[in-house]
Amino acid sequence: MKSSLVGVFVAALALFACSSSLSGPTGGPVAGAEDTHCSLPDGGTRFQVVDLSSCHLDADAGAPDYGPTNFNSEADDDDCKYHVAFTVTPVQENINVSFTVTASYLSDGGPATGASTLTETYLNDTHPAPNSNTQTTEQPGGVYQIGPIVFDSPGQWTVRFHLHEECQDATDDSPHGHAAFFIAVP
């Protein structure tokens, strides 16, 4: 009996040591108004069908047309092509953070697979996140694991997920999509 108690005590100590590197408050998605920019007054959804063959059309796209940055952890992409939802590991300054992004087509709800999802992360126009060799790993079902990402300063950051970044955003049905979210870093 005594030996079991010793074991439990040691396990508790070891687990404490394991998790003690993450102390203090953690941040994450900023709570706020739900995104409704693709919603219709009748309760339906406005959506843009994507055509994968429109990826490399040589047309003038002009400067990227980004929508407002979103609150919470899910929203429709700026052009109503995709629904983007994510989870994120605990956020603190100067630690590795990993995002798990789930993307689906807004037109039919199907998983957006093969979307080469990337992140653009910045505190403001002149302060991007430091380079941390961020990698994207695609999992089944339109799920993308993206990390590590490092926030090197406290504040309200923006993380913009780009889908099909390799495609020109030249036509309305281009697969290129993007949705940005606020991330609080304590």
Partner: protein, 147 residues
């Protein structure tokens, strides 16, 4: 046929004596599995090693140092040398032209992100030297002034 190694008598211990040690070893093993699990599921945030890996240099100037590099005499020639092959009329990225100050300024945030993260220029293309890269980053961190 399985042969059992003879155990030296000096290392023999009674079951009563080894039980606490086994419990501790088991507990530590479980805790280590827990560590590995949290690393796999939470990235490395919950475990000790959280240092980022970096292939692309973390050389972003921490602040704007005035005077900012001149767009006219310093920055524009660098854009012309490394970007306009693709980012101009007839180029592969003609939809995102970078031939004029206004064009660069309108997407300065993306330009900073792409250059700093080494996504641009694409691999295989000529890239700015270290000093040219520094001049570009310095100018962009200063807000891309039209100087």
């Amino acid at each position: 046929m399985i042969r059992r190694m003879a155990t030296p008598r000096s290392s023999l211990q009674s079951p009563e004596a080894t039980r606490p040690l086994r419990s501790i070893v088991m507990a530590l093993a479980l805790a280590m599995v827990g560590c590995t699990y949290c690393e796999q599921t939470l990235g490395s945030t919950a475990c000790p090693d959280s240092s980022p890996v970096a292939d692309c240099p973390n050389d972003l100037p921490s602040s704007c140092v005035m005077p900012a590099p001149s767009y006219q005499t310093t920055v524009s020639p660098i854009f012309n040398a490394y970007c306009l092959t693709c980012h101009s009329s007839g180029g592969q990225e003609s939809s995102l032209p970078l031939g004029s100050y206004e064009e660069i300024y309108s997407i300065r945030s993306e330009v900073l992100d792409q250059i700093y993260s080494c996504r641009m220029p694409l691999s295989g293309q000529p890239t700015p030297t270290t000093s040219e890269r520094q001049l570009l980053l310095q100018w962009l961190v200063c807000g891309a002034p039209q100087n």
